[in-house]
């Protein structure tokens, strides 16, 4: 009796073999995609972590009345004072070229930093003070170890002489590394050590807000009308096909449209989140419409019938019953669309959001950068230190995306209802 159920027949063997094969193919596929993900995120984090810390160099500055008039601080030439202090720290440096290299250990903003130190705490005036200043990008790379000091001299940007100065400073406890808050509070800069992500982050935030407030209401109304009220005829089919096609139009085309229509015809201010948001909402619209229609269609018709059978008007049935049930799906679709818009670069290039913007925008009509464009700009920059900045900006963009997706999951859970 048992043999009938247990004997391994040829059919059974081949069936089991194919099941095992499929299981391993599936696991392999997942392993490969996970490996890609780990590789991508890992390499970005490894490269970008350097940008999250920054180096400072301490310089003793004589702040006595001889150099700074306590009654008229602004009259001081902070730059020359800093250079003088550096020369005094390394009195052996005499030639013009070496002096320039010496000044190059610190960021070009050294004069401003000195002024900020004094204005923040005027009590330091009156005598020599050891103050901390941002190291230049090249010095930072050496200090952090991103550039190997043992490389042959002609393969690195810092000469042996400069490295010897840095080592002297290190031995005097005049070098430290700490979290790079400037990266999150500064706008873009030509100098990598001063460049920050805030202007791009704000630009993206403002652009996405415009995009959301323009595309969400229009898309929802369009989707609800098309799905619940529009007569099903040639015209509505034609519109449907066109909306689907719109979702597949390359984004740069929308950028050109924005350039031609919004900037040239309507004369809206270029490089601004207003224009960026409008162009991105052209792209987001079809995504949201398609997602919203799909989730409206997924609401069981019995709910509609129940409401209409109760004597609810079609609008009441839609807004009291169908739309609330479709809301989780609509919100998910919206956030997917917004996430796409967040990562979109090409259309923003067309409407001038690729400009160098150092100021943090505070309104939608001020010029602004956006995160992906900032990444593009930094990836294109020649300074070695911008490599780290690029990866750090990518990390910021990814964190932004993850937060948006978490929001989507949260909203879906909150509004989900069983029926």
């Amino acid at each position: 009796m048992t043999s009938m159920l247990t004997t391994p027949t040829r059919l059974r063997k081949s069936r089991e073999a194919s099941e095992t094969r499929f299981k391993w193919f599936g696991r392999g596929a997942i392993a490969i995609s996970l490996a890609f993900l780990v590789f991508m995120v890992g390499s970005i984090i490894l490269q970008g972590k350097g940008a999250l810390t920054t180096s400072e160099i301490a310089v003793t500055v004589d702040l006595s009345a001889e150099n700074i008039d306590p009654n008229d601080i602004e009259a001081t030439s902070f730059d020359s004072l800093m250079k003088k202090s550096l020369r005094e720290t390394f009195p052996e440096v005499t030639s013009r070229g070496d002096k320039r290299k010496l000044y190059g250990l610190l960021s070009v903003d050294l004069g401003f930093e000195l002024r900020d130190h004094i204005l923040a705490d005027p009590s330091i005036l009156g005598g020599p003070q050891k103050l901390w200043f941002t190291a230049s990008d090249d010095a930072d790379l050496v200090i952090s170890g991103s550039v190997d000091r043992d490389l042959p001299e002609d393969e690195r940007r810092m000469s042996d002489l400069e490295i010897s100065w840095l080592e002297t400073l290190e031995n005097n406890d005049s070098v430290n590394r700490h979290f790079n808050s400037k990266f999150f509070t500064n706008g873009d800069s030509r100098e990598p050590e001063l460049a920050g992500i805030l202007s791009a982050l704000m630009g993206s935030l403002l652009t996405l807000s415009v995009c959301f407030f323009v595309s969400f209401p229009i898309a929802i109304l369009a989707a609800i009308y098309l799905e619940e009220f529009a007569p099903k005829n040639r015209l509505s089919q034609f519109i449907e096909v066109n909306i689907n096609n719109l979702a597949a139009v390359p984004s740069i085309v929308f950028g050109l449209l924005g350039l031609a229509m919004l900037l040239n015809t309507f004369g809206l201010p270029r490089s601004t989140p207003l224009v960026g948001g409008l162009v991105l909402s052209l792209m987001t619209l079809p995504t949201i419409i398609i997602a919203a229609r799909a989730s409206l269609r997924a609401v069981p018709p019995s709910i509609r019938e129940a409401a209409l059978g109760m004597g609810a008007s079609p609008v009441q049935a839609t807004f009291h019953h169908v739309a609330p049930l479709a809301l989780p799906g609509i919100l998910t679709g919206t956030i997917v669309g917004m996430a796409q818009a967040l990562g979109e670069t090409a259309p923003l290039l067309m409407i001038g959001m690729v400009a160098f913007i150092a100021d943090v925008p505070t309104s939608i009509v001020e010029p602004a950068a956006a995160l992906p464009v900032q990444i593009f700009l930094w990836a294109d920059a020649s300074e070695r230190a911008f490599v780290e900045k690029t990866s750090a900006a990518i990390i910021v963009l990814l964190v932004f995306l993850v937060l948006m997706n978490l929001l989507a999951i949260f909203l879906r859970k909150k509004f989900e209802k069983r029926f």
């Binding site: 509609r304 409401a307 059978g309 004597g311 609810a312 009441q316």
Partner: protein, 273 residues
């Protein structure tokens, strides 16, 4: 009385119709229904008597559900559906252009094949109709309607302590009684039931059948059913549909014991269907 459909009367105006009123509440004359080019119903003439249960029986696809859905114009939802002929509720053409469908459906409620409570609380399920039709002016009035409806639907004892729980959490039979309670909450004159027990087990079915019998005092009921036993148990009049035609109509007992038409005979003996 005359303008039940075009004007929204007080909720109770037609409710107190004397039981002695022998005029039919619905009269259908020469009703043709087409789905696109296909004819689904052919020259249907049928009167629905007041305060009785009328059952519509027949094999699948015979048009009985189509006819039921003509009575509260649910067929309007189907784009390709076209209704011709004359259907009168209390002497008024319900397909006349000035008719407000919303008011019509308030007077002619419906219970569907599959229980379809809203994914809201039991209370809100019942309160929805009175709210949108503006039947109540205060919370306590609404509470009364909810209690009255659940009492009439025989559900009050089971759910009175959990009115705020979702209606979708009830059992199938309870959900269907909730749908009946929801339908009667707006005090309709007629309740249409489209195979209300086909998704339920025999015990839940028996409960609903008893309920239908009780509701007959206050409401006129039209029920579509696949089960001839059910038609025999709950209805006073039966109409037999076959291939889009109304073959025979009469008192339930007569129709089941001595049918006039051969097709009816064949159907009730199980030879067609």
């Amino acid at each position: 009385m005359n303008n039940v459909v075009t004007e929204m009367p007080e909720a109770t105006s037609v409710q107190n119709t004397p039981a002695a009123n022998k005029t039919p509440i619905f009269t259908a004359k020469n009703v043709d229904v087409y789905y696109g080019a296909k004819q689904a119903l052919d020259k249907i003439n049928l009167d629905i008597p007041r305060n009785k249960v009328t059952s519509l029986i027949g094999p699948s696809g015979c048009g009985k559900s189509t006819f039921l859905r003509c009575l509260n114009r649910m067929n309007d939802l189907v784009d390709i559906c076209r209704v011709e002929g004359d259907i009168q509720l209390e002497g008024q053409d319900i397909y006349a252009p000035e008719v407000d469908v919303v008011a019509l459906r308030q007077h002619v409620g419906m219970v569907f094949q599959k229980p379809n409570p809203f994914p809201k609380s039991i209370y809100d399920n019942i309160a929805y109709g009175p709210r949108i039709h503006g039947l109540t002016s205060s919370k306590s009035e609404l509470d009364d309607i909810v209690e009255w409806s659940l009492q009439r639907a025989g559900l009050w004892k089971e759910v009175s302590d959990r009115l705020q729980e979702p209606g979708t959490g009830l059992s199938g039979g309870q959900q269907q009684r909730l749908c009946i309670a929801r339908a009667i909450a707006v005090r309709p004159e007629v309740i249409l039931m489209d195979e209300p027990c086909s998704a339920l087990d025999p015990i839940a079915t028996a409960t609903i059948e008893e309920l239908i019998d009780e509701l007959r005092e206050k409401f006129t009921i039209v029920i579509v059913t696949h089960s001839m036993q059910q038609a025999a148990r709950v209805s006073q009049r039966t109409a037999f549909f076959h291939l889009g035609n109304l073959v025979e109509t009469g008192p339930t007992k007569t129709l089941f014991t001595s049918p006039e038409d051969e097709r009816t005979q064949n159907y009730i003996t199980g030879r067609i269907g």
